[in-house]
Symmetry: C2
Subunit: 218 residues, 2 copies
DNA sequence: AAATATATTTAGACTTGGCTAAAAATAGTA
DNA sequence: TACTATTTTTAGCCAAGTCTAAATATATTT
């Protein structure tokens, strides 16, 4: 139905929209896709003709509901495949992204439905991100960044914002994963760094780390 | 490493080589790939430059060992994914071909290794075709076409030559699947049609059917 | 408000993989 | 052997998606 390139653009724009609410700039898309702004302009015009997004020269773009639905479908497949790779094939959570980037483009509604059932209709992927349902609706959970917590607050790690291997491996070394309880013992206002407690261990983390961990405070 | 189009050409040539031993003609490739001979010439020249096949103008082509290995790798993935779809996702054996055509191009050696293990390192796909090992070696089994059997001979169905849905559904209606015992009760020499026994049932089949069923006579 | 900087678009080119139409080689037949 | 039919290749064109360089809008600064 849609080409690989088209699906990737829709997905990128969808993610950018989530992050920053409002129109998405050409440059932002180009950066996210590691491509040139001129290429983005071409593709965005093509997608606008197909009514997948609305676009005005120099004004940025935003997905139409049709475009959002397709993007959500791709993201649904991505996250379901990640669950498969981790739960069934025993991949580590830092190894699955690139493979899922390929698998997300496999076309077959029946496959997605059966995969979903096979996996037990999961709600979240291995990084804690919500899996859109078959209609493209995403369950938005109220979650905070660890960096937003104050001293003495506590919560449970429910997701990661960054999914790069280096970051996930850093978390592993410190035994932080989805479901881990974290308590803020101290917070430095100058640089946002923290001392946190994880299990019986206490250690220092930088703001950059705290900015990429989602926490649910109960 | 290799493009989708390149992999598909290598796979098609590999299959044609199996069937007819010797060089493969441009037209044969074009027919198998539903494309034009002129397109085949272009691609074959490109693949020859990459040392994946040997080619002489007007003389046909045959894969180099490098080309064979890549083709076998694609076929390995195709057949492993078919096992996954049937064994794990409970697809019917006539529904899996097109999806596997897509999945066979996913690039990740680690994925293939883990999938293989997850599936129990199967030797055959759901249609009875052997799955090449990680080095590209295919276990060749001594199997005959049902049409080659004579009256009163018997054997076990070990595979199908044709994998179109209509054919597989025809077999299902008659309760023929991999492992089914078949006995030839009668054979008409004029048109090659047969009367066969399957379980307690006896029925007539045309030569076209008998030409597409692989039998192992013990 | 003018000048400069940044963001975006346009124009033209390239690559991949496909096509059509015409030319050339091989095969088949009288 | 010569003529015809078939197969294969060449040449030129097209669409998708990308790029560079140049032009144009918008934003920011002074």
């Amino acid at each position: 139905m849609f080409s690989l390139a088209e699906e990737n653009y829709l997905k990128a724009i969808f993610h950018l929209q989530q992050e920053s609410k409002g129109g998405v700039s050409t440059n932002a898309i180009a950066e996210k896709m590691s491509t040139k702004p001129s290429s983005v302009t071409d593709m965005v015009q093509k997608l606008a003709e197909k009514k997948l997004l609305s676009y005005q020269k120099y004004k940025g773009t935003s997905l139409t509901s049709k475009g959002s639905k397709i993007a959500a479908g791709v993201i649904r497949k991505h996250r379901l495949w990640e669950v498969f790779l981790v739960d069934k094939l025993k991949f580590h959570w830092d190894e699955v992204h690139e493979i899922a980037e390929q698998l997300e483009h496999i076309q077959s509604d029946e496959l997605v439905a059966r995969l979903d059932r096979f996996l037990g209709e999961p709600d979240f992927d291995p990084h804690g991100d919500p899996i859109p349902d078959k209609n493209g609706n995403i369950k938005t959970t109220e979650k905070k960044l660890l960096s937003e917590l104050d001293k003495k607050q506590r919560g449970v790690c429910v997701g990661v914002k960054e999914t790069k291997s280096e970051f996930l491996q850093y978390l592993d070394k410190r035994n932080i994963t989805i479901g881990t309880k974290i308590r803020v013992l101290g917070k430095e206002f100058f640089d946002g760094s923290m001392i946190i407690q994880v299990g019986r261990d206490q250690f220092f983390i930088s703001k950059k780390i705290a900015d990429n961990l989602y926490i649910q405070t109960s």
